[in-house]
């Protein structure tokens, strides 16, 4: 199964094409340019490099959120455009699940964090376990399951949660540099931050997790879905400022 994956949820623009367990092409770049300027040129680069025929793609995968509102919309609008031209199933993968999947097979907990501003992080806590949570003979396949589903929360609250669990944790994501001082200050559990090849959005990880979604081989507690381009909806996890202020006024 061939999957074209796009992640523009954070600072890194990422796109990849995988075929089953092989990466045919993958780009991750972090520049000063907006995703609107970088993403599609990278996809075109991949197409021309590997002679990709778009009709041979079985599904699109996209980081559906959370993340930068604008970034998410660039990736999702791109997939919606692809759907108009070549309608294929779309694996809408929660951003934090895709980030955590960078550390497939990790022994402890994996905690992706993205800076959500206002002292908050977009985060979740994940672990890898053999065949957990399925009853269809999936035993032996290493699956990722959520210990805490993705949400927006204060880093202090996340720290308290991790300290309470007390297991070793590996952080990944572009929230790391923002909260590294806080980690030192607040965490009592053993922790490590992921090295470069695992520390930002990787479209190949997204594609690999999307493949599991397509095959129905994900843990039932994961929150992604297989949908189509028209129904694809960003997972913002947050109201707009205008809606928030209206609610606070009691409107």
């Amino acid at each position: 199964m061939k999957i074209l994956a796009i992640d523009s949820s954070g600072l890194t623009a990422a796109t990849a094409v995988i075929e089953d367990d092989i990466i045919l092409a993958e780009y991750s770049i972090q520049t000063g340019h907006t995703h609107s300027q970088t993403l599609l040129p990278l996809m075109e680069e991949i197409r021309s490099r590997i002679g990709l025929d778009l009709d041979s793609i079985d599904a699109y995968a996209v980081a559906a959120g959370p993340g930068s509102f604008t970034g998410l919309r660039i990736g999702i609008a791109t997939v919606k455009g692809l759907g108009i031209a070549k309608d294929k199933p779309v694996a809408a993968v929660p951003t934090l699940e895709a980030l955590a999947y960078n550390l497939y097979g990790a022994g402890g907990l994996v905690c992706p964090i993205m800076d959500a501003r206002r002292s908050q992080v977009y985060t979740g806590i994940y672990e890898f376990a053999a065949g957990t949570g399925t009853d269809d003979g999936g035993a032996g396949i290493l699956r990722m399951r959520p210990v805490m589903k993705q949400s927006a929360m204060a880093f202090d609250e996340l720290s308290a949660r991790l300290n309470e669990i007390g297991r070793p944790v590996i952080f990944t994501g572009d929230g790391i540099p923002v909260f590294s001082e806080k980690m030192k200050e607040l965490l009592t559990c053993p922790y490590e931050t992921a090295p470069a090849h695992m520390s930002r959005q990787r479209a190949a990880s997204l594609a690999a997790l999307a493949l599991a979604y397509m095959k129905g081989e994900t843990d039932p507690e994961l929150e992604g879905e297989v949908t189509d381009a028209d129904s694809l909806d960003p997972i913002y996890l947050r109201m707009s400022q205008a809606e928030r202020e209206k609610m606070e006024r009691g409107g």
Binding site: F69, R73, V79, G81, A85, K86
Partner: protein, 340 residues
């Protein structure tokens, strides 16, 4: 249909309408789908960019599919994908731009990015087969007030612009102040019909160092001051009179400057066209039509459906840009302050 036919799929998401259209040879509209978000923004008293962006994401694919199906074409029949890339609100623009780029890429169709104001001006080509440059055009909308000499297709010479508020913006602000709500243009237009346009003498904004430029902030302040002084003195405000008098000031200044410019600068011009959301205003249309008729100059204005933000006008503009060789790359970005 011959082989020279160029069919354009056009997309417009620069503000609060999600729109797509199919246009043949720049002048024939095969479909024109507009999803308006007015209801969503009304409760906030104006367009909320983040909410508009979210709504565009939700509506973009259904609107595009509707445009293709209304035109009874498939994407294979389309020759060019066109999209508004500025000016406008960056979040909303990015939705249309990225969807259009992906369609262009995946379907292998050339991409033409279109200037939103160029689109408004080109709306006039849709219903006026005789209209050709050169002509003078007054573009008035919620975000823009431009007097433009159209010297060729896609070639614009800006004669005047607003120094502060756009005309449509002044309509919105005054409408809010007199309790008519959003959107202000149509509401003031309607209220003004019941009012006396000579009830109050509001100023017609003049800019010191320019013959033609517009200014509407002084007029807006004069209306607000009038409302305040009525309130202080306990005088009941006659909403219809305020609306009619405010509208008269706007219409007179737009008409006078336009005609002066037409006579002094646009002597070679073959006509005068009106464009933009405020072009729907009946008083403005009537005033300019009369002024043109008295000078023996043909007057053009689009039907209201092509005055509001729509994608058919983008398809019209894109056709002439396409013929002129304009092509955009996959790195096309939204440009909120794109100059004309």
């Amino acid at each position: 249909m011959n082989n020279d036919d160029i069919k354009i799929l056009a997309i417009e998401t620069s503000c609060d309408e999600t729109a797509a259209a199919v246009v043949r040879n720049g002048r024939e509209v095969l479909s024109n789908v507009i999803y308006t978000q007015i209801a969503l923004h009304t409760e906030y008293g104006g367009v909320v960019p983040e909410l508009a962006s979210r709504k565009h994401v939700e509506k973009i694919d259904p609107v595009i599919r509707q445009a293709l199906s209304d035109a009874q074409v498939s994407l294979d029949d389309i020759d060019v994908v066109a999209v508004t890339y500025g000016p406008g609100l960056v979040g909303p623009l990015l939705v249309g731009v990225n969807a259009a780029k992906a369609i262009s890429w995946a379907a292998g169709k050339p991409l033409v990015g279109v200037h939103h104001i160029g689109g408004h001006i080109s709306a006039n080509y849709i219903e006026h087969p005789d209209l050709e440059p050169p002509y003078m055009c007054l573009v008035v909308s919620g975000g823009h007030t431009h007097l433009v000499e159209v010297t060729g297709y896609g070639k614009y010479n800006i004669i005047a612009r607003t120094r502060d508020d756009a005309a449509g913006e002044a309509f919105d602000k005054v409408a809010r102040a007199i309790g008519l709500g959003y959107p202000g243009g149509p509401k003031i237009d309607k209220a003004a019909r019941e009012g006396d346009p000579d009830a109050m003498d509001f100023p017609k904004g003049k800019v010191r160092d320019s013959e033609y430029d517009f200014s509407f902030s002084g007029l807006k302040s004069a209306v607000l001051n009038h409302l305040n002084s009525c309130k202080m003195q306990g005088i009941e405000i006659n909403t219809a009179d305020v609306a009619a008098s405010f509208q008269r000031s706007v219409v007179e200044v737009l008409t006078e400057r336009s005609m002066e410019a037409l006579e002094k600068i646009g002597a070679q011009d073959k006509g005068f066209a009106l464009a933009g959301g405020v072009a729907s205003n009946t008083a403005l249309r009537t005033s300019l039509e009369k002024a043109c008729a008295s000078r023996g100059i043909p007057f053009y204005a689009p039907s209201p459906v092509y005055c509001t933000d729509n994608a058919a006008m983008i398809g019209a503009a894109a056709y002439y840009d396409y013929l002129a060789g304009v092509r955009h790359g996959y790195d096309l970005n939204a440009v909120p302050n794109l100059p004309l």
